[in-house]
Amino acid sequence: MSAISDIVNAVNSGASSVRTQVEAALARAKSAQQYHALLALTETRALERADEMDERRARGENLGTLAGVPFVVKDNYLAFGAPTTAAAKILENFNAPIQATVVERLEAEGAICIGKANLDAFAHGGSTENSAYGVTYNAHDRTKVAGGSSGGSAVVTALDVVPFALGSDTGGSIRQPASFNGVYGIKPTYGFTSRYGVVAMASSTDVMGCFAKSAGDVELIMKIIAGRDEKDMTTLPDYFVVQEESDPPLKIGLIRETMTDDVDPEVRSITEEYVERLTKAGHTVEEVSMPLAPLALAMYYIIVPAEVSSNLARYDGVRYGRRAEGVKTLAELYGRSRDEGFMTENKRRIMIGSYVLSSGFFDAYYLQAQKARTLLINQFNELFSQYDLLLTPTAPTPAFGVGDNVDDPVKMYLSDVMTVPASLAGIPALNIPAGVSHGGLPVGVQVIAPMREDAKLLAFAKAMEARS
């Protein structure tokens, strides 16, 4: 099953035009408005590109491996056709002067961006409720959250508005909403995908990835977006080489610390059912221990706010973005523009970052967290010396109710508890839809692979998908 190949084949065979595909996607986006997954449609530009591509095809030109495939980007990607807001007031009228490398690569292969998806402002959050432009609702139940921070991208994928959507993942922002909406979502190896032209959050863990309905479609997109980019010096050479077949049996470790009584019983039972499916497929699954996994969230909420406070220092109301009115001095301009332009969660993270980096606290918090990170990575390395892949639930619960956690930041942070370890280690992890709760909400499992083993991870997921 490949929604992407269906479109490409229809366009290339002449059974459909690019314009037809783009118009249909725009119509689906409009009929899904009640989910508030999109902040803007890039309709004019998308239709212009569609017509131009149809003309090129009429002249016999090859349109690329994603000919006529519509997609959506999270609104922290700089992309033409609509403002890039990062779901924050401080960027409300920001028209990107350049496009993200990942967007450029997809467009070069004939894909067409039709809209920009809602997120927690600056990607700070786990529910897409921290947006300055309103909440996004879960694709399966509009009383539940979409998850986050890439909630809008997950929802449009789940609703089949587009066959794939881009997100960013700093601590789980692709995997957790993928779990909540029942789609695949990959966080690649750190440095596999370029961050150039995406609003920076925490530079030591930020990665760009995608959502799709099948593992094969995720692989197709990864093949295009992964690889070295001169404009992002942290990118790695092109390690992403598609593996046609997974070679079972693999040895898979189920991390015991992610299956405790704190985890929703339905999530645990769906994870256990997935373990049975793995066993039936010939894989070996054993329970393993990762004692530092429960401490990873504390590490994360030191390291990431530190980097956030630095990355968000650039939003000052001077060179671009929204400026506070009626200010008399430069200091007032900075202070008021930032107070009015950021959401509460942005301010919490910036201030925690200022705290853990400040003189007198640096060693106790930031340095301690970076040392703990080394120990966490060592535990991953030890496990990967014995196991090919690691398995956890993707989130401790199915999607929670809209409004349930908004007043309790620590409770909100706990929804990232399963996903942050792989982020701190920089290793690839994939959400695989695994089941549905009695309340009708999707539940996913997270499969984690060693560094640079993204292609092997997807080959495994494809093989498992083919069996179901």
């Binding site: 028209n95 002067p97 350049i98 750190y190 030591s204 001169e230 010096m233 942290t234 790695l236 401490l295 969230l297 504390a298 590490m299 909420y301 030191i302 406070s309 220092a313 000052d316 109301g317 001077v318 060179r319 671009y320 973005g321 929204r322 400026r323 200010v327 008399k328 001095t329 430069l330 007032e332 301009l333 900075y334 202070g335 008021r336 930032r338 107070d339 509460t344 301010k347 919490r348 201030m351 925690i352 970052g353 200022s354 705290y355 853990v356 400040s358 918090y365 340095l367 301690q368 970076q370 040392k371 990170r373 080394t374 120990l375 990575i377 309790d408 930041p409 620590v410 280690a425 560094m451």
Partner: protein, 96 residues
Amino acid sequence: MSTITTDDVRHLAQLSNLQLTDEEIAHLQIDLGNILAYIDQLNALDTSGVEPTYQVTGLENVWRSDEVQTSDATRDVLLALAPEAVGNSVKVPQVL
């Protein structure tokens, strides 16, 4: 160690260039206190003799050629993004 006073919140706001309202300061005092209480659990971990990790993939000294490259982001395009610009400059209120 993580008791946060309103003065601490004001100091952090100043370090962070945020001009908060009194109401925000009251809320943030509670939120920041709770967050710090949570992350304080890391203090119990023994990390003596452990090197910190600042970079996970081991890349170092990535070079590119030192050549001027063209970009769509020209001076005019960038100046047009500024809330206030005069000539080739971005305009701001008085500094002091």
